[in-house]
């Protein structure tokens, strides 16, 4: 629940942003991180950017999320 996902700000108007992580895009807000700029990598939690994050950290997290997703799919096959 407290998991925040790294994503890049690809559109920004005021505090309303569109962010991208691993090709998935969704709306988020930068109200809690006013210093965030277009092109920045940020951690998104429950629709809000909470922290800036560097490239290395973002890539590691995306890789981990990909692994978890793969594992969940295997589990679904096992139980389904």
């Amino acid at each position: 629940m407290c998991l925040a996902i790294p994503a890049r700000i690809v559109e920004l108007e005021g505090d309303k942003a569109v962010v991208d992580a691993m090709g998935n895009r969704w709306r988020a807000r930068t109200t809690l991180l006013p210093e965030a700029r277009l092109g920045d990598l940020v951690l998104i939690h429950a629709g809000f950017a909470i922290s800036l994050v560097d490239e290395k950290e973002a890539k590691e997290t995306w890789e981990l999320l990909r692994q978890i997703d793969d594992f969940e799919k295997t589990q679904d096959k096992v139980s389904g």
């Binding site: 629940m1 407290c2 998991l3 925040a4 969704w26 709306r27 988020a28 807000r29 109200t31 809690l32 991180l33 006013p34 951690l43 939690h45 429950a46 629709g47 809000f48 909470i50 922290s51 994050v53 560097d54 290395k56 950290e57 590691e60 997290t61 981990l64 692994q67 978890i68 594992f71 589990q75 096992v78 139980s79």
Partner: protein
């Protein structure tokens, strides 16, 4: 990378030898719990080092009375419930949101912003936002409460289940029978509150507090750092999640919480009533408080299901020690919240522990 793992393991071995008894480290973050199980970290630890899953999953620590209030509200024709997906399957007395009538007045939202939008879209309904979560999530609630006030929206209410991590940690180490030697502190909560927030636990209770991210390498090195302190017979405050966490945290988010909420006494599953551990809407924002608006009770109710989530959350037992685990309580048919939430200790044990057995 292997070298870093070996180095951390060496430090852990040394701590176990120095301490001469079992070392118990509690992780206070559901994301850590999942990462620890998924990566198989437990099996790489020395025998004398044990990890306890603490109250780090917001859904799991939510008291039964809160869930009952949600279910009660869901029965009202004039109410539309807006909830994060995590809460849908948590059982209360008389079912869960999921078992309510199909098409009932429940909407799953991904953010507090979506919940407020429902208030604009359904002006004839009273929207109740099921606001659970620690300090990571509370600022997002605060933002939309302020927005609702600014826009003069009158059909938006918040059932605040927001909780504060440090008061729970304080309660755990104040209990007589606790066996916690150190804390692996949550990464994303700390992004908001800053690692400085744990100073009190280090100073007053002499417990090392180390903030780590949730990649396995971060967790292993976090445990290594704790063990280094234990060997040196020291308790220090440290963050190794330097890419994200600062000592002060996100001060904009903290200010947002302070403007809308005040700390209030509240109930936690397993831990009981904890002084100033929950967030209650204050001042002009109290008009958005669902407890006040709908006259709900917050007194705890007795759980007769036999579920031992409370003891699991305090690190007193491990999930398989609960009689219901794996038989009457599974992720498909959960009895307690630690099995419902994907970040709950019981769910992690069931999913990843079971899989490991299959692989052997």
């Amino acid at each position: 990378m292997l070298e870093r793992i070996y180095r951390a393991q060496k430090v852990m071995d040394e701590a176990c030898r120095t301490r001469g008894r079992q070392i118990n480290i509690m992780e206070v973050c559901g994301t850590h719990t999942v990462s620890i199980f998924r990566s198989g970290i437990k099996s790489t630890l020395p025998e004398g080092l044990k990890l306890l899953s603490g109250p780090g999953c917001p859904v799991c620590v939510t008291d039964q009375s809160y869930i009952d209030n949600v279910l009660q509200l869901a029965e009202r024709d004039d109410v539309l419930i807006a909830t994060y997906g995590d809460m849908i399957r948590v059982p209360g007395r008389g079912g869960s949101l999921e078992t309510k009538q199909p098409g009932a007045n429940i909407k799953v939202v991904l953010s507090s912003d979506d919940a407020l939008q429902l208030a604009r879209d359904y002006p004839n309904k009273k929207i109740v936002f099921i606001a659970v979560g620690f300090e990571t999530t509370a600022p997002a609630t605060a933002v939309v409460v302020r927005q609702a006030a600014n826009e003069g929206i009158e059909n938006f209410f918040v059932l605040s289940g927001h909780k504060l991590v440090v008061p729970a940690m304080r309660t755990l180490v104040s209990q007589k029978n606790h066996r916690i030697d150190a804390f692996l502190c949550p990464g994303h909560v700390s992004a908001i509150i800053g690692y400085g927030a744990f100073a009190e636990i280090v100073r007053r209770y002499g417990r090392p507090c180390v903030v780590a991210g949730f990649e396995p390498m971060q967790i292993i090195e976090g445990l290594g750092e704790i063990c280094r302190q234990i060997t040196a017979d020291k308790a220090e405050l440290k963050s190794i999640y330097t890419a994200v966490v600062t000592e002060q945290g996100n001060t904009t988010a903290q200010a947002m919480i302070d403007q809308c909420f005040e700390p209030a006494d509240g109930y936690w599953r397993g831990l009981g009533k904890i002084e100033k551990s929950t967030l209650k809407l204050k001042g002009a924002y109290a008009q958005f408080d669902a407890i006040e608006r709908f006259g709900l009770s917050q007194e705890p109710v007795e759980d007769k299901s036999g579920c031992r989530c409370g003891e699991v959350l305090c690190g007193l037992i491990e999930p398989p020690q609960c009689e219901l685990f794996g038989h009457n309580c599974t992720p498909e048919r959960p009895v307690g919240p630690c099995m419902v939430s994907s970040e709950g200790a019981c769910s992690a044990w069931y999913k990843y522990g079971r899989n490991r057995k299959k692989q052997q």
